[in-house]
């Protein structure tokens, strides 16, 4: 898609002749100048970027998006819950994903992002993952933050970037791409409108910012310039970025401002996931090419990566077969995401299809496909094992189904949660309550006691047992449990209130904390 250059088919029918010659864009000194093939605006069609920069942008942005896709899996239980959906675009109401579809789509997206990061079949992979992302974003308002919209747009533009390594490319080989320029201009549009939206008295006097930032940045702001000045400075920075981020000569302004701005967003405590990191990754484009060229020339892995581009059928065969087999084995043994094994088996076909596709086009090699495949699956495992996403997925699934009155589905979710995280008290606690409600006394109490043993400093499992016993007329046992609840969590309002109610004795009202369910994904 990106490779095909559009040459004007009807020069005679083109608009009136250009009055003055179009100046070629001033490229970075580190890369060679390639003349523009025809009289096209150099701003767009003469935008050259060093291959090292394209490579780094590709790796960082697609790598971050892969991680982000996996982190989104904890939101899957929202989708299709209660059979309700409102799409971003009315036509797409009925195309909203279900929980399973969303989860599988994010697993596949993460995998495809890793393939793209490795530069594997990008002309197919990037449009595919863009379509999946756009589907998930536009078919439901559930995750409708501005950054999801930005990613959808950037991915759409990214379909037209020549991501694959040009033949015999060195780090300084120029890659001409109007799409990379468009990504920068898109960022400028974002900054411009973000600044305009803040030109409001409630922002200018610091009220809005004051209600939004916490974290370490808040303390720094309060003890230095003050919140009002910080609010005004934010507008100035956004406006400055709007006018500089897309202009190579102004990058010396945009680079420190933009990086400083997004680092401060990272420190501000705003819950925007990986967005600030993604924006920082975008600034790879704003760093002068010569910096990346210089670093790339020092790159110690270059030899290894070059070897992966071998034409050897043996190496390619080993890479693809071993990569696919190892990926399935690893997922079977260690991955806790629901449906991961099925998806991994299906995705095992991808490197084979890529290699066969190359063969059909008369090209050999493709060993990198097997390596990228394995890397894609390893990223699943890394995110699964270093975060609580898989556990949260079942926790939120159980919680939402419980609240919507689907006790049986909630029970399935909690049992699955316990199977992957037996040391989490929440699963035992919720399952215990569900079982008691269904009349399975012994099983329910067993689960509550497991929760008590795990959550030694929380009252809720004791309270649940005490309430159940009290409801069964077993007063002394209930009082004993309520007492244990207050020992476990002396500040628990729920425990203290229950003990008061059961004993009839008035107790000192404390600044107790109310009991809470932790299976809501709106925590």
């Amino acid at each position: 898609m990106a490779k095909k250059r559009d040459r004007s088919k009807k020069p005679a029918a083109a608009p009136p002749p250009v009055e003055r010659p179009v100046k070629a864009a001033k490229p970075d000194k580190a890369i060679e100048v390639v003349p523009l093939p025809s009289e096209q605006p150099a701003f767009w069609f003469g935008y050259d970027v060093a291959w090292a920069k394209v490579w780094l942008f590709r790796v960082l942005v697609f790598g971050l998006l892969a991680i982000d896709a996996l982190l989104q899996i904890r939101h899957a239980p929202r989708y299709g819950a209660g059979g309700f959906n409102v799409a971003q675009l009315p036509l797409l109401h009925d195309l909203g994903p279900s929980r399973v579809m969303y989860e599988v789509a994010q697993l596949v997206s993460a995998y495809l992002f890793i393939l793209a990061a490795f530069g594997v079949a990008t002309r197919v992979v990037v449009p595919c993952v863009t379509a999946i992302y756009a589907w998930l974003y536009f078919s439901s308002q559930l995750d409708s933050y501005q950054h999801h919209y930005l990613v959808a747009l950037v991915l759409g533009i990214a379909c037209f970037v020549p991501w694959q390594r040009p033949a015999d490319a060195t780090p300084s080989t120029p890659v001409r791409s109007w799409a990379l320029r468009l990504i920068l201009v898109q960022l400028a549009v974002l900054y411009l409108w973000a600044a305009i939206s803040k030109m409001d008295p409630a922002w200018l006097d610091g009220r809005t910012l004051s209600g939004q930032i916490t974290g370490p940045l808040r303390a720094v702001v309060d003890s230095s310039v003050g919140i009002k000045a910080a609010a005004r400075f934010t507008i100035v920075v956004e406006l400055a970025l709007a006018f500089t981020v897309w202009m190579r000569p102004a990058w010396f302004i945009a680079l420190p401002l933009g990086i400083g701005f997004h680092v401060s967003v990272l420190l501000s405590g705003l819950e925007i996931g990986l967005f600030a990191w993604l924006m920082l990754a975008m600034y790879v484009l704003v760093v002068p090419d010569r910096v990346w060229v210089r670093i790339a020339e020092l790159r110690p892995l270059r030899g290894v990566l070059d070897r992966l581009r071998t034409d050897s059928d043996l190496v390619t065969g080993i890479s693809v077969v071993l990569g696919s087999a190892l990926a399935v084995a690893l997922v079977a043994v260690a991955c806790r995401f629901e449906n991961a094994l099925t998806v991994a088996v299906a995705l095992g076909l991808v490197p084979i299809i890529i290699v066969v596709g190359r063969r059909l086009r008369g090209r050999r090699g493709g060993a990198i496909a097997g390596v990228a495949h394995l890397a894609g699956i390893l990223v699943w495992l890394a995110v699964d094992r270093t975060t609580t996403v898989a556990v949260d997925y079942y926790r939120f699934w159980g919680g939402s189904q419980r609240r919507l009155g689907n006790a049986e589905t909630a029970e399935v979710a909690y049992r699955k949660m316990i199977s992957i995280a037996p040391g989490e008290g929440s699963g035992h606690y919720q399952l215990g309550r569900l079982l008691l409600k269904r009349g399975e006394e012994q099983a329910g109490l067993d689960e509550l006691r497991k929760a008590q043993a795990i959550e030694t400093a929380r009252a809720r499992a004791y309270v649940a047992e005490a309430q159940y016993l009290a409801g069964k007329g077993r007063g002394p046992e209930a009082i004993e449990k309520a007492r244990e609840a207050t020992y476990a969590e002396p500040d628990s309002k729920e425990a203290n209130d229950l003990l008061t109610a059961l004993t009839g004795q008035k107790r000192e009202p404390g600044a107790g904390t109310p009991g809470s369910d932790d299976d809501s994904d709106q925590r």
Binding site: Q40, F45, R78, F84, W193, S197, T208, L209, D521
Partner: protein
């Protein structure tokens, strides 16, 4: 309008840009990106800041309390809608609240379904939306 576009096409740089499909796509994309946020100011729902790049604007601080009754009896929305939808409703997004109303009307044919939000803002007076039978008037 046409003559304006023709004039645009005749300006030197735009002329060359618009002479290729890529150039036309870029121009269309940019015009859309520059103009779409303006639609925010024409929307009846001030809380809906989608597609407008209004990150962390004062409106983001609006808090709305969605409430429903069916035939005069209070209805707990949490038993029908996932909390993520309730969170969006608490930001006052009309399209979601209207869809909730439509769902309740479909589930309770012939009933009087009232759904409203009481919103507070940091830069304006509190305001309520709705409170009539949303089955008769399906919009806030």
């Amino acid at each position: 309008m046409l003559s304006f576009l023709r004039w645009l096409g005749q300006t030197p740089h735009l002329g060359t840009l618009l002479s290729t499909w890529r150039g036309r796509a870029i121009a269309l994309f940019l015009i859309a990106q520059l103009l779409l946020p303006i639609l925010y100011f024409t929307r009846k729902d001030p809380h809906d800041e989608r597609f407008a790049w209004r990150m962390f604007s004062p409106m983001r601080m609006a808090r709305c309390l969605p409430t429903a009754t069916i035939d005069g009896k209070p209805f707990n929305l949490a038993t029908e809608f996932h909390e993520a939808w309730l969170e969006i409703a608490s930001r006052g997004r009309f399209t979601v609240i209207e869809a909730m109303g439509a769902r309740l009307c479909a589930k309770n044919p012939g009933s009087d379904v009232r759904l409203w939000i009481d919103c507070t803002y940091i830069d304006r007076e509190p305001r309520s939306y709705g409170s009539y039978n949303i089955c008769n008037v399906p919009e806030l």
